[in-house]
């Protein structure tokens, strides 16, 4: 039974498996390594995942959803046509699609996987990922954090001596920094830090705002199609700036055509503030690991946004050395996940490597502190597990009652770094009854156990009665029992994922539709004709003809797309 490693990213997802020669990325039905994390609903109620869906972001924005990873673990709803999905449902579609790709590639059934999650994912988000996997029919034994996965994929290359290195992961929407140490076959995470709202998209956003403001466009009141088109322009410009010295954006709305050229200098000025934000997590991670930048032996770049040239510059500036980016920054995490799968199985071909991870944030509870004037003040945060504690970890603290005649103690679980609970995130609460007594006489032991997957369990023990209460912190109680998952599975069952063998042609159609939207006048007519033509051929069901026409169609679309970019 094969097992796979999956990188479920905000913008793109990948799947890989372990071979004797090392980890290998499994291509999807279109032959690509990257599958965009976009889901769309087709006209005949089929689910489309990947590139096809991404095309439909522009043509059918009301039926398409993207960047839902950010909302995992929340109640956000995505209405697509007559269905409404949660972020977990959407992720499960992506996972299902990857699973199908792997099964087709390996010609065997796949039931188990290791999935990567951002190091900063909290408990609810991790649980949501596990649920999505269940919905996709995958059993996930381990969630691996992304920087660790990347480190692991590089780790094989750096096996020689003891190494301290930092992983700099700038993805589509998040920024993660991890400091790791590799010695004696042990990959140890020292500390992690990050910014959940900083990513490649923000850099695109800067260009977008600049364009919109300089041209006086009322962005908020544009149709979503226009908005998507503008975003695409900003992305292209960003790419251009990455490769050359200048980029251009063009946009047409009705009669008006707007245009703007941006050169390197301007871009740097625009992004100066963003770049400042990059430094904080780095400093924090280093501080927590008690290291100076010069103590590091290597810096690894992962995440698509690190392709931006000035990222390399910044990183060099901070650390005084050039970073490593030999492994494709998009693929490193998936490769690492595949390695982790093999490690778990203690695969013989792999030299034993033990991996340890840390807890990304402090976990504690709310208490009252005695004030100098004799009174008590509530709302203080008492940490039980400090951040960057290696996991798995289990720690216990003892607390007492505050008031006389108190008959129960309530433990509220918080996550965060502030000393006041109001600035931290509440994860849940648990009560335990205690015998009535004078204040401070009854005690309760609070044990926080943070397991290797990042799932928190809280156990309360009333000291005098030896009574115990346990709760596993769940943000959405009622959704993770097997019955509920089964129920949701039933609901989603009738939704089929678009069959793989037809996906190429479907992609061509979707692409054609998108180009139709994006172009004007004469080009539009031409594209329309091509589309009708191709559809007719598809309807004929003549395999030979379809293949021929598909090739021609693709060529024409390619040339049109090149044409459009000028």
């Amino acid at each position: 039974m094969a097992k796979i490693g999956i990188d479920l990213g905000t913008s793109n997802s990948l799947v890989a498996h372990w071979t004797e020669q090392g980890p290998v990325i499994i291509p999807n039905s279109l032959g690509n390594h990257l599958t965009p994390s976009v889901v769309s609903l087709d006209d005949n109620d089929e689910i489309l995942v990947g590139q096809i869906a991404k095309e439909r972001l522009i043509t059918h924005p009301q039926l398409t959803a993207s960047t839902f990873k950010r909302y995992m673990g929340t109640d956000k709803q995505y209405p697509l046509g007559k269905y409404t999905f949660t972020p977990e449902d959407l992720s499960s579609f992506v996972l299902r699609s990857l699973k199908d790709d792997a099964e087709a590639y390996l010609s065997e059934e796949i039931e188990e996987a290791v999935i990567s999650v951002p190091a900063y994912f909290n408990d609810a988000q991790r649980k949501a990922t596990l649920r999505a996997a269940s919905l996709a029919g995958l059993h996930v034994e381990r969630l691996i954090s992304e920087p660790t996965a990347a480190a692991v994929s590089y780790g094989l290359h750096l096996q020689e001596a003891d190494t301290q290195f930092l992983v700099f992961d700038l993805g589509g929407g998040t920024f993660d920094v991890s400091v790791l140490e590799l010695f004696e076959g042990i990959m140890q995470v020292q500390s992690i830090a990050g910014d959940n709202y900083l990513g490649g998209e923000d850099f695109t956003g800067v260009l977008l705002s600049y364009f919109v403001e300089s041209n006086g466009i009322d962005y908020a009141n544009l149709s979503s199609k226009a908005q998507s088109a503008l975003i695409k322009q900003a992305e292209l410009c960003k790419l251009a700036l990455g490769n050359g010295n200048a980029g251009e954006m063009v946009f047409t709305e009705g009669e008006q055509t707007y245009q703007l050229t941006v050169d390197r200098n301007q871009y740097e000025q625009l992004t100066a503030q963003l770049l400042l934000r990059l430094r904080n997590p780095i400093e924090r991670a280093l501080r927590d690991a008690s290291l100076m930048p010069q103590d590091l032996d290597a810096v690894i770049l992962i995440g698509g946004a690190t392709r931006m040239p000035f990222i390399k510059t910044i990183v060099s500036k901070i650390f005084g050395r050039l970073p490593y980016s030999q492994i494709n920054p998009d693929e490193a995490v998936a490769l690492g996940a595949a390695i982790q799968v093999a490690l778990k199985d203690r695969d013989a071909s792999l030299q034993e490597m033990i991996l340890t991870d840390v807890c990304p944030f402090t976990l504690g509870t709310s208490i009252s502190i005695r004030m100098p004037n004799g009174g008590y003040e509530g709302g203080h945060f008492d940490p039980i597990i400090e951040r960057n504690t290696p996991i798995p970890v289990s720690k216990v603290q003892r607390y007492t009652t505050l008031h006389p005649f108190q008959d129960k103690i309530r433990i509220t679980v918080y996550q965060g770094e502030s000393r006041k609970v109001e600035n931290n995130v509440k994860l849940g609460e648990l009560d335990i009854p205690v015998p009535v007594a004078a204040a401070g006489e009854e005690e309760v032991d609070v044990r926080y156990t943070y397991d290797i997957n990042g799932v928190l369990e809280v156990e309360l023990t009333a000291v005098s009665t030896r009574q115990k209460r346990t709760v596993i912190i769940e943000k959405n109680p009622g959704q993770s029992s097997p019955e509920q998952i089964q129920a949701r599975l039933e609901e989603l069952k009738h939704l089929k994922i678009h069959p793989r063998d037809r996906s190429e042609n479907r992609l061509l159609l979707a692409r054609g539709e998108r180009l139709y939207e994006e172009s004007l006048h004469e080009k539009r007519d031409m594209i329309a004709n091509l589309l009708i033509d191709f559809e007719r051929v598809l309807a004929s069901q003549d395999e030979q003809e379809i293949k021929k026409k598909a090739v021609l169609f693709k060529q024409k679309l390619d040339s049109l797309e090149r044409w459009l970019e000028f």
Binding site: G185, L276, Q294
Partner: protein
Amino acid sequence: MTIWERLSISRTADIKAIKRAYAKQLKVYHPEDDPRGYQALREAFDAALSFAKREASREEVVEYEELRDDDESQSDIEPQTLLVPRINLSQLNHEHIQPEDNEQLMPPPRIPLHANQSIWQHVFETEGSSSSETDYNTVPEFVEAIIALYEHFPSRISKDKWLELLNSSVMWNIDFKLQIRNQLMFILEDRKLFLPTEIWRLLESSLDLENTIQESIDFDDDHNPNSIWSYYLRQLKYPGLRYEFLLQTDGLDYDQFLQLRDQGYAALSQNDLKQAETYLKRAFALFADDPDLLRLLGECCMRTAQYEAALAYFDQLIRLLPEEIDGHLYKARIWYYMGQTSQTAEQCQYILSKWPKNSDAVILLSHCRMSLGNPGEAEELLNKAVQLSDRNQSTLEEQPNLVKANRANRRNWKLLFNKNILLHMIIMLVTSALIIGCINYYWNISIQNTPFIVTSLNDLELINEQEYTALSVTNLQDININHYAGGVNSFDSGFYENSAYAFRHFDEYGNPTYRVYLGEFNGQHIIVFADPATDVLSIQSGTAIKGYVHAVSSRLESAVTHMLRWKPSNPEGTPEAKLELYNKSIAIGFDTDYESNSVPVPEINQKYIEISDPKTKSPVNKFNIATLGLIIAIWIRSLYYLVFEYRKIRGTL
């Protein structure tokens, strides 16, 4: 178990040895298989490591002291941190203890900044902006530059200048950056800085002060909303006031003005109106043309209902910034509160001419129209407002309809299953059926009981025995015959007897069932039967007699004929005649003696009519009416409830 025992090595400061020992033990206490064992091992390892590190740094200090004395040329590289005497890192940076302190006083041997600069410039491709003029390499220089930038007001509010400053080389060194941050916090504690919001945000992104503040002990004891930390956090959270307008005037004590304005702003958000007014007015005295201040003053007056004063402030605001909507909206509201509807309307219309999409103005305008007595226009305007606020019109229309449709569908189902409705429906059906039945019944009966008026002899012939008939009979005369229900010998329905005779032999005959009369109808004579109790003769001539028509039996005919023919032998009127009458019996036998010369016996119609009430009893009696009334009442009540429930359900859609 001591940490050394857990690691299975003897006490040592050799980091490598510790690591190797840990690695070996880790294979035994694998984190996946033995979480508790792993936790214990890891703690031992961490403790051993920090012990070893402390030992190592102590040696390093000794080493470096020697080095330092030798090399004088290092001195210019030393950051002259002691220039600013108040640095006391351990207070603010409680996470870092001794090693840091030591390292502060000596530059870490591995990064002499200046020496490496060439490497960095080699790494950059185009670095136009950071010219050496505004680039700072040491902390004190940098801090001075910050202060200088701040003191110069126009620079203070220039984002570009700040950005440039924050990109100085010295900021790239993590260590120095930390120092700079601490310095800044000191400065902040000392005096309140006034900066535009975007500059605050800039500072925050580069120095990460917010987290530090929240994590530090100082913040806990700080409950004063006026404290520096609350102030700082407020600057980040709430939209700030603008600074650029202050550039227009010279000679203004910026900080004093800003201080007053800010205090006024804070007081206003806490609704401390007296304080707010004081502060704001004092700021106003310093500089009267700051739009934000004017707005705050206007708002303050609004809250104290000083509408005239507020108007003045807003007018000024509009004069300064005619393109901003705030002043206009406020004015519209003021006129509205003051009840000046025409002014309000004018103002709203002006607003709409410039900002056609402003829904507030439309709604206020519709309020005006309403109070001016123009409900039609008001409605129109409100309709417009709906369209305005609703960009995706289709979705709004769809949604409630969808929702309505869904609800309607579900509700329609629910209608059927609603207990009340079912119950009442059943009641209604039953009672309706009853009522209809009753009515039908009554109707039938009344039809039956309506006598069929016979006018001609032909009809009389044809009439059915069961049908209730009416005849107008004239000349009713009593012919002294009674009908008696069947005697001992009779095998048919009875016999006839002279009433007088029967009366005499009452005990034999008993009560008559009918009395027989003769009347005239359409020229013919017709026999009439009547109930003995009925006073037939009082029936006026011409009045219709109601009853049932039957065929005349031969017996009857002969009896009647006989009676008619018979005449007493004695002359009429004499008592003897009466006596004879009394003695005459039809039944017993015909006494042909007394058959006189034929009195002309009139032709008697072959049908006789029996006066009676309609056979079927009129159902109109108290009991029936009462029941019917009750049923109707129930029916009405059910109907009422039904309609009521239905409307209730419909009404809640």
